[in-house]
């Protein structure tokens, strides 16, 4: 059980004993996690450990076969992905997943709910462009014409349009040049400071454990095998554990 240093903030997103399966192949067994406002939870593990499955599950793309998910006190286990997205839980899927045939601006405007109209619509889009000036330059270009790093930023930016209180980010650094990764991590740190709860999956252990994470969860073959604060984790031990069969 995580013993956190900051017990004051309530959990924004909480998963209790969730299980996710593809048909009869169980990918995640009885996982639990809590994400608090202004904090980042990092999920690490080997390939095939179930990290992306867990993320899709938290976002609602996969239904939980057991367990429950709570968001700001409400049970959301049965909520569809669009309902979660419109209510404050946004997922940035892995792989720079943007709408390549739409423009950068259209990508960003996509998440705005129907209720937001006219002037307010434009303002919210401009808010996003202020945070990401690189994208503002390219606003009329097709997303597919942007570089990999820009696409990853766009993916994050589009998730932010929906003003999430929980941001789920799946392997933001995968396939990016180290220089671009630094940009992405800096953005996530900013968001953390603004009070958003972040759940982050990363392959590169040292980056998250020593950088952005306030809690670390280790998944192994679908089960949570370790859960602690970074200060108490032996990095070499962890790396060994994930390297040895």
């Amino acid at each position: 059980m995580p013993a956190d240093g900051n017990g004051a903030a309530p959990a924004v997103l909480e998963a209790r004993g969730v299980q996710y399966a593809y048909g009869d192949l169980v990918a995640v067994w009885s996982a639990s996690l809590s994400a608090r406002a202004g904090e980042a939870v990092a999920i690490v593990g080997r390939n095939g450990a179930g990290k992306t499955t867990l993320m899709f599950g938290l976002a609602g793309v996969l239904g939980a076969s057991e367990g429950s998910v709570h968001f700001e006190g409400t049970e959301v286990t049965k909520w569809s992905p669009w309902k979660r997205a419109l209510n404050g839980i946004s997922l940035v899927p892995e792989g720079k997943r943007v709408f390549r045939e739409l423009t950068v601006q259209e990508n960003i405007a996509l998440g705005l709910p129907r209720a937001v109209r006219g002037k307010e619509r434009r303002e919210r889009v401009e808010e996003i462009f202020e945070r990401f000036p690189i994208l503002a330059e390219k606003r009329a270009q097709l997303a597919g014409a942007c570089s990999g790093g820009q696409q990853q930023l766009l993916s994050i930016a589009s998730a932010l349009t929906m003003r999430p209180r929980v941001l789920l980010v799946d392997e933001p650094s995968s396939g990016l040049a180290p220089v671009a990764v630094e940009d992405v991590m800096a953005t996530l740190t900013e968001l953390k400071a603004e009070g958003i709860a972040i759940v982050l999956v990363e392959q590169r252990i040292e980056e998250v454990v020593t950088g952005i994470a306030d809690h670390v969860i280790v998944l192994e073959q679908g089960r949570v095998v370790l859960e602690d604060v970074p200060e108490r984790i032996d990095l070499t031990d962890l790396e060994q554990r994930l390297s040895v069969a």
Partner: protein, 614 residues
């Protein structure tokens, strides 16, 4: 011996079962079956041929080539026209009809080369719609709206066939044709189609020409339809355009979907169900079309695997997964796998340039890779790394410059020719065709090596059997090389990412290439798999291979590469040994960033990097 082992042993001879059934069906008249039943079975056999041929394009090719009905019409009219000119010898009619069908298959298949599934379906529907129009235009030969009546008394090698004789001839001919089709499907030809279905770039990278493969599939799919047409003319006795209409297309689709779109033997079974079933209900005629529509919807939603898939699933349940592929020696037997020769050639590019829609992707790139060495290319996204790889493998044609491998000039060759010249590559996202085992995937790299005519494959000629043995041996050798021999019989699609990457590496060396191009092989792998990959790459280097790889994992590149090229904005900005490259200012500012540069030389691990930063 356990029941399982016994069943597995029997399964080896499972291919004889449909033939035994066919023999039984052929003998039915002698067993007392009436004329009505015989006619129904004949029709089932003929429609079954149509469906089996259609499945070649649909199930294996993924294309809804409903023009099969037009091909069938062509075959039937050919025999009918021959009859109206006094030729009623079946042997001649069959050859003529099949020849016409092959040609029609080619013509109706041409749209499929360029079009998506929807467009092809549209064009084939249209073709069926205009059959009456075409028949009208050639009414002198075809009898126009009146058709050709009174087609009777077929002769086989001179002897007149009565109703029963025609029945037996039909069943035997159909069974033989289906056998050949089945042989074709379960062979390198069928595997080639599945590779093509996965994607044309993959097919080309294995030395296959998508154009030729597709065309051959259309021709081969037409042959059973031609055969069916010839017999149909005598079965029906009267050929007119109305027999080849939308209702027949419906039946074709329904039978294909019910029997399983990949099936051969289940096709006549499904056709039989659709023909004989409705006959039993007397007032069914009126509702038949409605029923077919409902069946299609039900089956489409619920039974996407069809009858043959159910059969396969049952077999797997009873017999379990196969332990080792047939024809490969048991472990422990003293048989040494022939070792693969992957000694490479020297690769050299000079001044290679490429622009896409005004954006320069490559700007005069000079690049060299030696045999027995690993050469890595790193750089930011958009730097041109993958474009350079594509230019070498031929997936992209350079605007200027040349690419040489050994003595060969690759720059002007087609993609599949470059593959045949000894260039093998992997893809960022592993391209793994469906329905194939690990061994078959690795062996698929050898399909483009040497071409075996379809006829030889269909009859399992010695030439084909010898090549199949050699393919399997080489494939096993490649799997041994990467340490995947135990997984040879597993369905490839079920492997986790790391194993699929390794599978692609095995596939790339099975054809004994002169150059191996790897596109981000370490992406998304966990540390254990990366270590494994490193070991295999070093093995490839030591065997003399010319290995070129693109990577973002800087640590991995530093540990494995002998020489590193750094690209930015389409140009090479540095080329040196790993440690030097790491300290280069331009490289740091454009790509590495300070932290990665601060990690010291001499095999930095993650822990070391962190403690440096702290």
């Amino acid at each position: 011996m356990t029941v399982r082992a016994r069943a597995a042993g029997l399964l080896r001879y499972g291919w004889t079962a449909p033939l035994a059934l066919a023999a039984l069906v052929a003998l039915l008249p002698a067993l007392g079956a009436g004329l009505t039943l015989q006619r129904e079975l004949m029709l089932a056999a003929l429609y079954g041929l149509l469906v089996a041929g259609f499945n070649l394009s649909f199930g294996f090719g993924g294309q809804l080539a409903l023009g099969q009905v037009a091909v069938f019409a062509g075959g039937a009219y050919t025999t009918a026209i021959l009859f109206s000119h006094g030729v009623s010898e079946l042997a001649i009619a069959i050859v003529a009809s099949m020849a016409v069908a092959a040609l029609l298959g080619l013509i109706t298949g041409l749209p499929g080369l360029r079009f998506s599934s929807w467009a092809l379906a549209l064009v084939s529907f249209f073709l069926v719609l205009i059959i009456p129009n075409i028949v009208e235009i050639f009414s002198a030969q075809t009898g126009g709206g009146n058709g050709i009546p009174g087609i009777l008394e077929p002769k086989l090698f001179g002897a007149t066939l009565d109703a029963e004789g025609l029945y037996v001839a039909t069943v035997i001919a159909a069974a033989l044709c289906l056998l050949f089709l089945r042989n074709l499907v379960k062979s390198r030809y069928g595997h080639g189609l599945l590779v093509l279905k996965q994607g044309a770039p993959l097919a080309r990278s294995l030395g296959l020409s998508p154009f030729r493969l597709r065309l051959s599939a259309y021709v081969l799919a037409g042959l059973p339809a031609g055969l069916a047409g010839a017999f149909y003319a005598y079965y029906s006795g009267f050929i007119h355009a109305e027999s080849f209409d939308f209702d027949l297309v419906t039946l074709l689709l329904a039978a294909s979907v019910i029997g399983g779109i990949n099936s051969v033997w289940a096709a006549p079974l499904a056709a039989a169900i659709l023909i004989i079933g409705p006959e039993q209900a007397s007032s069914f005629e009126q509702y038949s079309l409605l029923a077919y529509g409902v069946i299609l919807m039900l089956v489409g939603v619920g039974f996407s695997i069809g009858l043959s898939g159910v059969g396969d699933a049952l077999v797997t349940r009873i017999v379990g997964r196969p332990q080792r592929p047939a024809g490969v020696a048991e472990r422990g037997a003293v048989v040494s796998q022939p070792s693969l020769v992957i000694a490479g050639e020297r690769l050299e590019t000079r001044g290679v340039s490429k622009a896409f829609a005004g954006v320069t992707a490559l700007d005069g790139v000079d690049f060299e890779a030696e045999p027995g060495a690993i050469t890595a290319i790193i750089g930011a996204n958009g730097a041109g790394k993958t474009t350079l790889l594509n230019a070498i493998s031929g997936h992209v044609r350079p605007d200027r410059g040349e690419v040489r491998l050994g003595d060969a000039q690759l720059s002007r060759m087609k993609t599949e020719q470059i593959a045949k010249a000894g260039v093998a590559r992997t893809f960022q996202t592993p391209e793994i065709p469906e329905s194939l085992t690990v061994l078959e995937i690795v062996a698929s790299s050898r399909i483009g090596e040497h071409w075996i005519p379809a006829a030889a494959i269909a009859v399992r000629a010695p030439r084909y059997l010898a090549s199949r043995r050699q393919d399997r041996e080489r494939a096993m050798a490649a799997l041994e090389f990467v340490g995947m021999a135990e997984e040879a019989a597993l369905p490839a699609r079920e492997l986790p990412l790391g194993r699929r990457r390794m599978l692609e590496v095995a596939r790339s060396i099975a054809a004994e290439p002169s150059l191996i191009l790897l596109d981000e092989p370490a992406a998304g792998l966990d540390p254990e798999a990366i270590e494994y990959l490193r070991a295999v790459l070093l093995r490839m280097r030591d065997a003399g291979g010319t290995v070129v790889l693109i990577e973002h994992n800087v640590n991995f590149v530093m540990e494995v590469a002998d020489s590193v090229y750094v690209m930015d904005l389409g140009e090479v900005i540095a080329h040196a040994a790993p440690e030097e490259v790491r300290q280069d200012e331009r490289v740091i500012s454009s790509y590495l960033g300070r932290r990665a540069a601060q990690a010291g030389p001499g095999g930095p691990s993650g822990a070391m990097e962190v403690s440096d930063a702290r």
